[in-house]
Symmetry: C2
Subunit: 335 residues, 2 copies
Amino acid sequence: MNIKDVAKQAGVSVATVSRVLGGVTPVSEPARLKVLEAVQALGYRPDLAARRLRSRRSNAIGLVVSDIRNPFFTEVSRAVEDVAFSHQLSVILCNTDEDPEREASCLNLMRDEQVSGVILTPSQRLLGQFRPGDYGFPVVLVDRYERGIEADAVLLDNFDAAQRLTEHLISQGHRDQVFLYGADSTTGRQRLEGHRAAMAAHQLSVRATGIKPRVEQAREASLAALRRSPLPQALVASSGLVLLGIVEALRESGLTMPGDVAVAGFDNMPWTRLVEPGLTVIAQPTYEMGREAIQLLLQRINDPDKAVRQLVLRGELLERGSSAASGRTPGHGMP
Amino acid sequence: MNIKDVAKQAGVSVATVSRVLGGVTPVSEPARLKVLEAVQALGYRPDLAARRLRSRRSNAIGLVVSDIRNPFFTEVSRAVEDVAFSHQLSVILCNTDEDPEREASCLNLMRDEQVSGVILTPSQRLLGQFRPGDYGFPVVLVDRYERGIEADAVLLDNFDAAQRLTEHLISQGHRDQVFLYGADSTTGRQRLEGHRAAMAAHQLSVRATGIKPRVEQAREASLAALRRSPLPQALVASSGLVLLGIVEALRESGLTMPGDVAVAGFDNMPWTRLVEPGLTVIAQPTYEMGREAIQLLLQRINDPDKAVRQLVLRGELLERGSSAASGRTPGHGMP
DNA sequence: CTGTTAGCGCGTTCAC
DNA sequence: GTGAACGCGCTAACAG
């Protein structure tokens, strides 16, 4: 069952069938109909492998993320897949765990697949040496980016978001803050800078702890911070995973928010408003970011010489109970 | 840059190069080394499209889930990708939203891609008419299955899990339970049966509400149940999403667990132990299920005539505060 | 064990 | 606007 059979059935040549299905060169209406009819009748589907071999393109895109289980990437990937699907593009998924070796393997895989493009969340290290021309395909960066890199990107304004989050905490009276951030990620460091700026504006000193972006590490770092006396007034997380670790540590220590310690962080995960008394977070427009990323990629594929663009989106501060002024809240067992 | 160049560089024929890289037919050690050296020197990577066209295989697998954002599928997909990656297999991802039309599109896509196999979570409807032979590739079902279907599958023992969960609630004194379940899913219905059995064993009547498996629907159904007087003693969720909706409704109503209403459900999501006083759930071995699924698939690919197997795993009951006997707990504002 | 060679199915060029 | 023919890069069959 191949293009030849269709040509025979339609009474035309294979070239005509190819033209009808390719849809570039014009074909006479009667021939077109005959071909479509034959395709229908035979249930013909063109062979992608042959098509790719011949055309050197693959109508597939790559999605290379550090860990699909990170809710941010889960949501992004869903957006990417939605748009890709509506454009008849296959999505090839790869997790890197921030491991440069695995990143290289994934990108090689994408090269082998001759994908039309890749949406990538590079590790700090890869980002440092990122040259867009190194790959045979266009790349759109998501979530991670550094000034001067010649690549399309979709980002949160991390500096601004962290600054506003910190300002908010200060305005609630939480001046002694501990900032826990993923030290290996660009994102974490940019957020640290925003935090630093806000603290500096109030002549407050910064207590920041860089950790691996894992729940377990965040939990341990939080426990350490909570063992000190006096307690810090607030714990601030640079990501959703770190926030999770902080809340675990708090529960484990039997401390309450914001009575004993205020808490705030990033990523408006579904559970953040269910944890008493609700977690104050910067919400990222995750789905939108994924959608923008693939749209940027599609534009880049259609016009490789276009100037690169970085799309910087603003986070939304969701003020919930965890960051309330501690005097205002009843708390559990506080006056 | 192709196999011919490598052959020339190595001083052998293209067939020998192909054999070295294919690794099936034996090749003399000196020739092997020459080839590998040439491959290294030229940075040669075989063309997947050509390889696929010729060999009619694709070293890619499909992962077709209803929604990657469902934490269960997120975790499964991570396991699948891990194993696939270690076997040099590409993973093509597709979301169906339980929509039969989209399911068909996804499976057609997989056919076009000539994937070696697919891991699939079929909708109720697709499952009803599922014929393994309809596709050109082997399929392993995950999470959804019905007796008599000739396909490999990896499942939770839903009946048993729901039965144990219900028994546990009864043993804690929560005899008047409302069971909220995804009516469109096999899983939800099987869990309802387990619930029913446990209730019947204690001569208790069943109050079950079938809903669409969405947080919003679960929330609304919960609110409706919570408006009744007297309150039910417990709300039980047939899935993680439904559980989320229940907890939202409870917070919205200002009711406490288990003081006002006990709560229990499925899926040990990271936040279930953070929500006061911890949510009692059936934990599914999600990562393991994904790993088993792809291993089953690989075995099936290697031996298509092997008898099909259904792997049924047992859920683990995690007893937390939300299901405690209500007399035992302080509650907020209860004596 | 190795080399030669014939296609895999399609898109595209070149005549008509 | 159409058809014939070539070749994309590779693997598998066959002959040596």
